[in-house]
Subunit: 209 residues, 2 copies
C-alpha cells in the first residue's frame, strides 16, 4: 500500500509508541488536572498537513501491556474484573500499566510477565515464550494511551498462587477458542484490549476466530 510520509516508522513491528513524527509540534499546553492515573491538558498542535495549529484536549496515560495467556491445550486464560468506570465486571485478558515511561523492550516484557502472574496466577512454562504482537492505541481521538500486545504460551498455573486482595479480579479461568468466539459474538467480551489482541492473534493465524 502507498505509505503516507507521516506514518511513523515501525521498528521491528513493535514498540512504536514513542516514535513521533518530527513534523508534529506542540506549540503550547494548558494543564487542567493531573494525578497518578491521568494528566489532562489542552494542546495547541501544529500537524504536518495544516497551515494553522489545532487545539485539542488530551488525556495522557501511561502505556500498558496486554497479555493473551495460552495453555498447552490451546485455551486462553481470561480474568473477570470489576471495572469502576463502567460499573460492571467484564471478562478480559490480563493487562497492566508500565510505570517507567522509558522502559525498554526487556522491561516491558518483564511487566507483562508480572501482570500475568499477579492478575491471572499463571506464568510461562519452562519451554514457554512471550511473543510480541505489536501495539495499539485504545482511543486515539482523546488519549495517547497505548497497549503492547503479547502472546504468552504455553502458560501454567503458579503453584500456591493467592490473588492480591487489592485487585478487582473476581474470577479467572481458561476458555477454548470456540468459547472465546462465542463470547465475542454474544457481546460478552466487550473490552478494547481483549478484542484488540484477539484481532492480532487471528490475523497472525495464532487463533481462529
Amino acid at each position: 500500500m502507498p505509505r503516507q510520509g507521516n506514518i511513523a516508522c515501525i521498528i521491528g513491528g513493535h514498540y512504536t509508541c514513542r516514535v513521533k513524527e518530527s513534523r508534529w509540534k506542540t506549540i503550547s499546553t494548558e494543564h487542567h488536572f493531573a494525578n497518578a492515573h491521568v494528566d489532562v491538558a489542552t494542546d495547541h498542535v501544529q500537524t504536518p498537513t495544516r497551515s494553522q495549529p489545532r487545539t485539542w484536549t488530551i488525556v495522557h496515560r501511561k502505556a500498558a501491556v496486554v497479555i493473551a495467556p495460552m495453555t498447552q491445550d490451546g485455551k486462553i486464560v481470561l480474568i473477570h474484573q470489576e471495572r469502576i468506570p463502567i460499573h460492571e465486571a467484564i471478562w478480559e485478558m490480563p493487562a497492566g500499566q508500565i510505570d517507567n515511561r522509558d522502559a525498554d523492550q526487556e522491561e516491558i516484557k518483564q511487566v507483562a510477565l508480572r501482570e500475568l502472574r499477579e492478575e491471572a496466577g499463571y506464568e510461562l512454562a519452562r519451554d514457554g515464550e512471550l511473543i510480541p504482537l505489536g501495539q495499539y492505541f485504545s482511543s486515539p481521538g482523546f488519549t495517547d494511551e497505548c497497549g503492547y500486545f503479547f502472546l504468552a504460551r504455553p502458560v501454567v498455573r503458579v503453584p500456591d498462587y493467592v490473588r492480591n486482595e487489592s485487585e478487582s479480579i473476581l474470577d479467572c479461568r481458561p476458555f477454548t477458542i470456540s468459547e472465546i468466539r462465542r463470547l465475542i459474538t454474544e457481546n460478552e467480551i466487550r473490552d478494547g484490549n481483549t478484542l484488540g489482541v484477539c484481532a492480532r492473534l487471528a490475523a497472525h493465524g495464532l487463533i481462529s476466530l
Copy 2:
C-alpha cells in the same frame, strides 16, 4: 459458561452501554475538569463485592459509533486520519460521537450513517443494511467511553462527495480482507475501534482474519 450475577443483561445482544448493575453505587463525586470532550472526576464507588467503597478517577466521554463499511466486492473502506493525541495519522474505520446521551437505537443508527457519509464519503446501497455488532468499552480502566459497532453493506460512494475541511482525514480507500489482515499483522492498523470491530466481524464469520 457460568454467568456472574453482576454481569449486566444483554438486550438483544446490543445497546447495552447504559445498562448498569443496581448494586453499584456512586457515593460521592469530586469534579476536576470538564469541557465538550471530556469530564474528569474522582468517584467514591460502592462495588457489588467489596465492603469498603473504592476511589477512582474516571474520564467520562460520550458514546461513539464505529462503522465497518463493506463494498459489494467485499472490500472494507478505511480512512487515514490525523490523530492529535498520538501525533500520527493512522488507518481507521469511520467513527464518531453520539451527542445525545439518550439516543435510542434508531438515532444511533442515524449517527452511524451520517459518520459513514461525512468521514468516508460512502452510503448504504439501495439494498444495503446496517447490521449492529454489539458494543465495547475502549479502555474501561479509566473511561466509560463505549463504542457501538456496525457493519454497513454494501456501501457505495456518495455522488459528488466533498470532504469537510474541518475533518482531519487525509485519505480514504477500500482494502481487501487480505490487505486488512496484513495491515493488522504488520502493526499498521493500530486503532482500538478498528481492531475491535474486526474481531467482532471475524467472530461472526463476516470476514476471515
